[in-house]
């Protein structure tokens, strides 16, 4: 029974990381795409736009980090 629980944890780790990587990837790509557009339209604000882009991506990536942490916990601590 313990082995089955651990097997479920491993499957859960895989699904957790897979699904958790889906959203942030799409979102961060959208951020970067729009930043490219903005940068082209007003190049004098380039550094501000790049900074905002990186900060926005860092925030949207936090859900990906949560998935990573949970997946690592599921693999190593069950």
């Amino acid at each position: 029974m313990e082995q089955i629980a651990r097997a479920a944890a491993l499957l859960g780790a895989g699904i957790c990381m897979g699904m958790g990587a889906l959203g942030p990837g799409l979102g961060e790509g959208f951020v970067a795409g729009k930043a490219c557009e903005g940068l082209a339209r007003s190049p004098e604000n380039a550094s501000l736009i790049t900074r905002t882009m990186l900060v926005g991506q860092a925030v949207s990536e936090s859900t990906g980090i949560y998935s990573l942490v949970i997946a690592l916990l599921l693999i190593f601590s069950t």
Binding site: A46, S47, T50, R51, V59, S62, L68, V69
Partner: protein
């Protein structure tokens, strides 16, 4: 131009066809051409029937300690054995091989950088040499980035940023040198994690220095007091994201090169793979790590 592009595509297609033919021809054979001295000291030039086990190879390359323990063989390392014994005595036998190899590679990277710096410094006051021009170009490029992000009065950050870039780039490139035992130190999680913790520590130090301790602590409760735990987790996620990105890219590249090369019998394709995953990805990741460290500082001292 269209003519040139067409011929390039044709060459690429030709290479692919040669590749496929060679793979198809060699797939049934389990032999490897061996040139060199064998164990008895005799020079051999022959086809050797060899069982190539991919999983064994990967474990030997990436988990040397486990491999040595499971197969009951003596640890395989590069360098002097007296140094290794000394090392194993201090740090314990459990992870001795990988730690030894890692520290050996880090010392080699440091020596290379010191040597380059020494050579450039020697020629500094005569006419500028080519390497000097290259390094000055790198320096001025990053100086512009620092100027854009932090402002003119914070230019003293440039040496840190440039050091970070050159160190990570050299670490990523040194795995391409075809000497036995050479690997990227960034392939081991400890190196990117250390660099990431250092970068975030600099961020927090600068934040306290410019804002004062009170405002620094108060910023954690922005925009609402219940958000405090999320802000604190966000600081940790900075370290994790910045270091895992570098580590995963380099490790993934190394595994991909090993797996695909062994599947195509080390013919032609590994060159392109090493170009892409070694040089292109290595340079981009070094650049991204540096820019992220710079941006984190820039966000904290923006006001």
């Amino acid at each position: 131009m269209a003519q040139k592009k067409g011929s390039l595509l044709r060459y690429l297609f030709l290479f692919l066809v040669i590749e496929v033919v060679l793979i198809v021809l060699s797939s049934g054979l389990n032999k490897q051409l061996q040139v060199g001295y064998d164990d008895t000291g005799k020079f051999v030039f022959q086809n050797v029937e060899k069982e190539y086990d991919l999983q064994d190879k990967i474990q030997e390359e990436f988990q040397p300690d486990e491999y040595a323990k499971q197969n009951g063989i003596s640890p395989k390392f590069y360098g002097s054995s007296a140094l290794y014994d000394f090392f194993a005595k201090i740090f314990g036998k459990a992870n001795a091989i990988s730690a030894f190899n890692l520290i050996r590679m880090l010392i080699i990277v440091d020596l290379v950088l010191l040597l380059v710096a020494f050579l450039i410094k020697k020629q500094l006051f005569e006419k500028p040499s080519k390497p000097q021009i290259i390094f000055e170009m790198i320096y001025t490029t990053f100086e512009d980035f620092v100027k854009d992000t932090l402002g003119k009065e914070k230019l003293h950050f440039t040496p840190y940023i440039v050091t970070l870039f050159i160190f990570i780039w050299t670490c990523n490139m040194i795995g391409l040198v075809p000497i036995p035992g050479f690997m990227e130190p960034t392939r081991n999680l400890n190196v990117p994690l250390g660099l990431g913790i250092m970068a975030v520590a600099v961020v927090h130090y600068m934040s306290i220095k410019t804002k004062g301790l009170g405002k620094y602590l108060k910023d954690f409760t922005q925009p609402l007091p219940p958000m405090t735990p999320i802000n604190i987790v966000g600081e940790f996620s900075k370290v994790i994201s910045i270091s895992f990105r570098l580590f995963g890219n380099i490790l993934g590249g190394a595994i991909i090169v090993l797996v695909v090369s062994s599947l195509v019998k080390f013919i032609i394709l590994p060159v392109g793979l090493n170009l892409f995953f070694g040089i292109f990805v290595g340079t981009i990741q070094a650049f991204v790590f540096t820019m992220l460290a710079l941006t984190y500082i820039g966000v904290e001292i923006a006001e």
